[in-house]
């Protein structure tokens, strides 16, 4: 019995950090409507800065002062970022905000490695709380007890701040209607900045408080952000009480889940989240949001199928691409095969997010499932390559069917957070279920059949499959189904009113996109000859997002151009610099701020402008001749 109580207390103690970070995220979202992906990065910064300060400053005052000082320093850093970057994108579509803050996360990751080095850092124990309390024969660290007491205190302080101060009233008013608050003469800029400062302070404080318990490491930003997303989805975005209750719930589920399903404890959290989403899609303490104010698109150029000339040009490009083995060596062909595979991956995400308006932040899950599907079939069942390629992607289909069903119940940022959480669950299973997936060691020796083992042959295979998949997705974009999907994206109200079952259309699109991603993953497994949990990882999901964004999220062929440019740039960067994340993050931030239309979008805009100017010139000349 005592054992269970101790387990319960451990759960409560880990809930403290989670609550601090989640409440910060919730407060920021409530007022600015930005889901701050970089929140995990601020949490990590808090831990590292606190490590340095507590090492330098001595004594109890030095330790506690160091923790507070670190949180304040990170909050100041957060304010700078808010003023320089976020102020520029408050009116951008949600997807861009999520991506910009993700770019920040990447940059901060590399900065942390630059400053503190690649090793994990274990901080010193908290003065006065080094020991443990004996609890019916079980030891409970006194620091854990301190954390357990701390989170209700923080909750109380936040409550007082929001109920009893003028600033708190403004924040609550802005959470309900920020435009109205601005119309009443409140300086919105500084309100947003101060809210962001508080949110970042809470995140950094959560990170700083962790160092006596766990080492500060370089993966803690992404691991915490996933947990936090799960917490706010369960508790309800914008609700601090919700963040508290859900943080405790998730931590306890983790603490006891380990006892029940030691290998895949995360399943339990997933099940609870799924139930909450079915019963209350807006979270336990959240309020059902009014349909989000539609961010106007960047362009209003309707999509159209390729003209006859463009088709011929496309075939010409394909012939050149198919001739690559004539003048490229093995390395070039391998890189080109990889690019072809990523074209499939990016095109599949594009179908979901540009055509369907559903920006998945966990699309790698279905890519990875396709790869694992092939690996299982090839290694365990010993099936021939063609059969593997045909059946393997079905695992992606299956995953997309299950997760997609829940994901399409939500939209916007909730959809993004949920898909990310699902992908992380797949990742955890791949990582933890060692007996089946090989865990971190992956599954090796997934080699293609003899006929496809040459670099040229495999390249032609990848290119052929890529052409087929892209053509199929494009045909679907212009099929009645594609139109129905775009209808659900453009106006859910209208599409429902003309007999379209929005959720069913979106679910179908999710399954199609997941299957296509699975096809890409299946080829990828054969290209690399192995499968690792990384093939399901967050960074791969974000790669796909950046490809679509770089090419142009509102164009039809943007994903293809984006995949080619991004992948080539990425391969080149990784081989030329150690700081690829820093560069990549900066590129993402730059795209969002400077060229949100992407490459293809920019070209189309220029063409349209030129077209319009020639038309007006013609008109002018006609007017002149009429005179």
């Amino acid at each position: 019995m005592a054992f269970y109580v101790v387990q319960f207390l451990t759960g409560l103690a880990s809930a403290a950090s989670l609550f601090l970070v989640a409440s910060g995220l919730s407060i920021i979202f409530g007022v600015t409507r930005i889901v701050n992906f970089a929140h995990g990065a601020f949490y990590m910064l808090g831990a590292f800065v606190a490590y340095t300060l507590t090492e330098r400053l001595s004594g109890a005052l030095g330790f506690w002062g160091g923790i507070l000082l670190a949180s304040l320093a990170v909050a100041v850093f957060g304010v700078l970022i808010e003023m320089i970057l976020l102020r520029r994108i408050y009116r951008s579509p949600e997807l861009f905000q999520l991506l910009a803050t993700f770019g920040l996360t990447l940059m901060i990751e590399d900065l942390v490695i630059l400053i503190w080095g690649p090793d994990d850092l274990l901080g010193r124990r908290a003065p006065g709380l080094r020991g443990a309390v004996d609890f019916f024969g079980q030891q409970v660290p006194s620091y854990d007890l301190f954390l357990i007491v701390l989170s209700p205190i923080v909750l109380g302080i936040l409550w007082l701040l929001f109920r009893r101060t003028r600033w708190g009233v403004l924040v609550r008013a802005a959470t309900q209607d920020r435009d109205m608050v601005a119309a009443l003469g409140v300086n919105q800029k500084w309100l947003f900045t101060s809210v962001f400062a508080l949110g970042v302070f809470l995140a950094a404080f959560g990170g700083a408080l962790r160092i006596p318990r766990d080492a500060a490491n370089h993966a803690m930003d992404l691991s915490v952000i996933v947990d936090v997303f799960v917490v706010v989805v369960i508790g309800g975005l914008g609700s601090i009480i919700g963040a508290f209750v859900a943080a405790v719930l998730v931590s306890e589920l983790n603490a006891f889940g380990i006892l029940i399903f030691p290998k895949i404890s995360i399943i339990l959290v997933f099940l609870v989240m799924a139930v909450v989403l079915i019963v209350r899609p807006w979270g336990l303490f959240g309020k059902p949001e009014a349909p989000a104010r539609k961010t106007p698109g960047l362009t209003v150029q309707p999509w159209r199928p390729l003209s006859a000339n463009e088709r011929v040009a496309m075939i010409g490009v394909l012939i050149v691409a198919a001739a690559l083995p004539l003048f490229g060596g093995t390395y070039v062909l391998t890189v080109a095969s990889e690019i072809a595979i990523f074209v499939i991956f990016a095109a599949s995400l594009h179908f979901l997010m540009s055509v369907g308006g559903l920006a998945s932040f966990g699309h790698a899950a279905y890519f990875g499932l396709g790869a694992y599907g092939v690996a299982f079939l090839a290694k365990m069942a010993g099936l021939p390559m063609i059969v593997c390629l045909l059946i393997g992607p079905l695992l992606g289909l299956l995953g997309a069917a299950v997760f997609g069903f829940f994901a399409v119940q939500l939209s916007g940022v909730y959809f993004a957070m949920l898909t990310l959480a699902f992908a992380q669950i797949v990742w955890s299973i791949a990582f933890q279920w060692v007996s089946v997936t090989g865990g971190d060691n992956g599954i090796l020796g997934v080699w293609p059949a003899a006929w496809a083992s040459g670099a040229a042959a495999f390249y032609w295979l990848s290119l052929g499959v890529a052409v087929l998949v892209v053509a199929a997705l494009r045909a679907m974009t212009f099929s009645p189904f594609g139109y129905a999907l775009r209808a659900t994206r453009d106006s859910a109200l209208r599409s429902e009113a003309i007999g379209i079952d929005n959720k069913r259309i979106q679910w179908t699109a999710f399954v199609i996109a997941g299957t296509a991603a699975g096809i890409g993953g299946a080829l990828f497994a054969f290209l690399k000859g192995s499968v690792f949990p990384d093939n399901v990882g967050i960074s791969l999901s974000v790669d796909a997002l950046v490809m679509v964004l770089l090419g142009g999220v509102e164009t039809i062929s943007g994903a293809i151009v984006g995949a080619i440019v991004y992948k080539a740039l990425n391969i080149w960067l990784v081989s030329h610099t150690d700081l690829s994340k820093l560069v990549l993050g900066a590129v993402i931030v730059l795209i969002v701020v400077a060229m949100p239309k992407g490459i293809v979008g920019m070209i189309e805009t220029l063409q349209a402008r030129r077209g319009r100017s020639t038309k007006s010139a013609m008109l002018a000349s006609r007017v002149e001749s009429a005179e």
Partner: protein
């Protein structure tokens, strides 16, 4: 008119939001080819009433019978399949599509081809879409992006979309709100003409009394959630209670006044 089949029967429709009775015990019926106006001051419950009829809001009590079927609490898409077209107070269209495509999507849905993944949608039901656009006088706009239309044109496009499933009943929530006076009269005359030709029943809410008294066969007056008057325009116009609450004493919406209206 008496031989026309009854399309819509509403019995004791009720809805309250946390103690506020938005709609209280509203009953009425509507026959094919009849144009029925629902008027009343702001906050009278017109939109709530409307949204319950096509399933966007679940009624708190009462029954809605459409074409002889009990549709109380059914989803908007199910109600649409029965042959009910809907336009919105604030237009809801598909801004990234062309005008023609907006209508084509509705036609695709009407022909039950939503899950057809291989045909070419731009070619599908093209003529039919053009005919509908012709009907509402939008034929010149077919290839224009819907996102750049003027508001009055959007309202006409909505009408074309609403007519795509060959509806027996049209529900129009403030069909002319936000339009210029001249356009208002034109749109309502167009709607009335189509409705009479195809004997479609029309239920509409409206604040423009010129439009209401010109076209409505019957008028329902709603105040604070309850029906306070019902009848042909003449009766409603004379009703002292309606005058006190809504129409006021000064204006007389009669034939002379109407002819003087901008047209």
């Amino acid at each position: 008119m008496s031989a026309a089949p009854v399309l819509l029967v509403v019995e004791g429709l009720t809805k309250s939001y946390g103690g506020v009775h938005a709609v209280r015990d509203v009953s009425f019926s509507l026959s094919a080819g009849e144009i029925l106006a629902l008027i009343g001051p702001n906050g009278a419950g017109k939109s709530t009433c409307f949204n319950m009829l096509n399933g966007q809001v679940t009624p708190g009590g009462g029954r809605v019978r459409l074409l002889g079927r009990d549709t109380t609490g059914e989803k908007p898409r199910a109600v649409w399949r029965l042959g009910v077209g809907r336009t919105f107070q604030i237009t809801a269209t598909f801004p990234t599509m062309t005008v023609r495509e907006n209508v084509q999507v509705a036609l695709v849905s009407h022909h039950s081809r939503l899950f057809d993944m291989w045909s070419s949608a731009p070619k599908l039901a093209r003529d039919e879409a053009e005919r509908l656009l012709d009907l509402v006088g939008m034929n010149g706009y077919a290839d224009r992006p819907c996102g750049e239309l003027a508001y009055g044109d959007l309202k006409r496009l909505e009408l074309a979309i609403a007519l795509a499933n060959q509806p027996k009943l049209l529900l129009m929530d403030e069909p002319t709100a936000g339009m210029a006076p001249r356009e208002r009269v034109e749109l309502m005359r167009l709607t009335a003409r189509i409705a009479r030709e195809q004997s479609i029943g029309v239920l509409f809410t409206e604040h423009d009394m010129d439009v209401v008294f010109e076209h409505a066969d019957r008028i329902l007056v709603l105040n604070r959630g309850s029906l306070i008057a019902e009848g042909v325009p003449e009766e409603v116009r004379r009703d002292p209670q309606v005058r006190a609450i809504y129409l006021g004493e000064g204006l007389v919406y009669d034939a002379r006044h109407r002819d003087g209206a901008p047209a």
